[in-house]
């Protein structure tokens, strides 16, 4: 059976946030997932943007999400650049959170034969060097 790595030992740098995405990254210090919410249409969006994708207006709120959802699609990376080189193969998944947004993440503790579209997942926070965390996912068992 193909072994799938979890990429937890990859030496990642913390990504540089933008003026409008900083609240997201700040919240990850406490392993909290914040999503942008447009109160006019009552819908969430991801990734964070400077504007509502629904209305083009900026009246967005940040709301905390449990980060729970289901696999929407996935791929197995067989080739990668440093610092991921040598850690292949690993999953990159698209997860539909229960709030109705798609988020991408690596998978932790997920075997190849367990992975399928529809699999329920929950967040797994991987520490980054600056004290923030990277959102990954693990099967909800």
């Amino acid at each position: 059976m193909t072994m799938i790595n979890d990429t937890l030992d990859v030496a990642r740098e913390a990504p540089k946030s933008r003026s409008f995405s900083k609240p997201f990254w700040d919240a990850t210090r406490e392993k909290k997932l914040l999503l942008q919410y447009d109160p006019v249409v009552g819908k969430f969006q991801f990734f964070p943007r400077a504007t509502s994708i629904y209305t083009g207006r900026r009246n967005l709120e940040w709301r905390e999400s449990a980060g729970v959802g289901a696999i929407h699609s996935f791929t197995i990376a067989r080739r990668a650049r440093p610092p991921f080189q040598g850690k292949e193969p690993f999953f990159i998944a698209v997860i539909t959170l229960d709030e109705g947004v798609n988020v991408m993440g690596n998978m932790v503790d997920c075997a190849l034969d367990e992975m399928k579209i529809g699999l329920r997942v929950k967040p797994y926070w991987s520490p980054l060097p600056d004290g923030t965390h990277l959102l990954m996912f693990t099967p909800q068992r």
């Binding site: 990504p15 540089k16 990734f47 996935f74 197995i76 990376a77 067989r78």
Partner: protein, 390 residues
Amino acid sequence: MALRDNAIVGFAETRIVEKSDRDVWELGAEILETLLDRTGFEKGEIDGLILSSSMTGAGNCFWSQATADQLALEVDFCQTVDIGGCSPVGAVARACAAIDAGLCTTVLCLFADTQSAETNQRLRHFQAEWTLPLGLMGPPAAFGFISNRYEHQFGLDYSMLGKLAVAQRNHALLNDNACEKLRKPITIDDYLKSRMIADPVRLLDSVMVCDGASGIIVTSRKNAARKGLNKIVTPIGYGERTTYRASEAIVDVTETGHMVAGQRAFAQAGLSPSDIASFHPYDDFIIAILLQMEMLGFCKHGQGCNFIRERSFAIDGDLPLNTGGGQISAGQCGLAGGGTNLIEAVRQLFGEGGARQVANTRNALVTGIGGIPYARNWNSSVVMILTPEG
């Protein structure tokens, strides 16, 4: 004034190579000289320059000006089209619009990129923040998501993708400009057994980044007639859509902007998919061809594999497909790669296909795909229908 009042009066293409030892502007000069020779235009008659996107050119935010200067073109209209793989076909539409608007009369559309030898891209994008920390290498992973999702929704017979790969490879064998490394026959079994890059995307699903250039001259049909140029290709339908379904948080990645772009192009042309004589879809990954067949209405959404099973895509088949091998079997000239599909369509309608000439030259359909967004399909979709008549 309309799209169809304008004409492509000449085409040119360099050989496609890995790691070109010739500079991107030398490739551009070859295209310019070939076009002047073939059309009889003097350099001074070219009064518009439109460039495609270029990874080599991405290091210079004055790219179209700098190229006009290098080629010593004095022009009244000068721009780069920056919608990635859609930019060559998009350039034709913009050339027609500029001519119609009276901004210029004769436009050199130049598609030149030496990405494998010299890439200068420094993208300001979502990737650094949202996908590079996941180890995502870009297009193959994105097409891995699309393929798995397609399989989940409709089922996917990979041997049918293999059939498309083999058809295109057979065509590259007849194309002297195709990258030499790729000019070896393959079978469906070779396709199925080729190594995974980003499951279920295989090596033989994927383009290889190469270097090369192509180009065309667009002028008004009136001007073409005045110059005695009677071998012309006319765009009769065009559609373009960027950021399809941008206002939705979750989109069906098996549905693309080619649906709306195609509807517009077919309506303008007064044609339907069954009228199309040869099909030259942008091909960065094999499944993109299947998706475009569905979106353009050659078959119903989700029925692509059945459609492929029942058709022949050979030069003498029901629907000749990327008759020069497409980008997957001829090599992808970076962001100028869409020029490969476009030039082949024009070549066929000029009747200059040689060993790979199709019999039916009533029309050709060419498309573009540009840009990979976050957990969506692709950023830009273009569709153009060409005819050899006025």
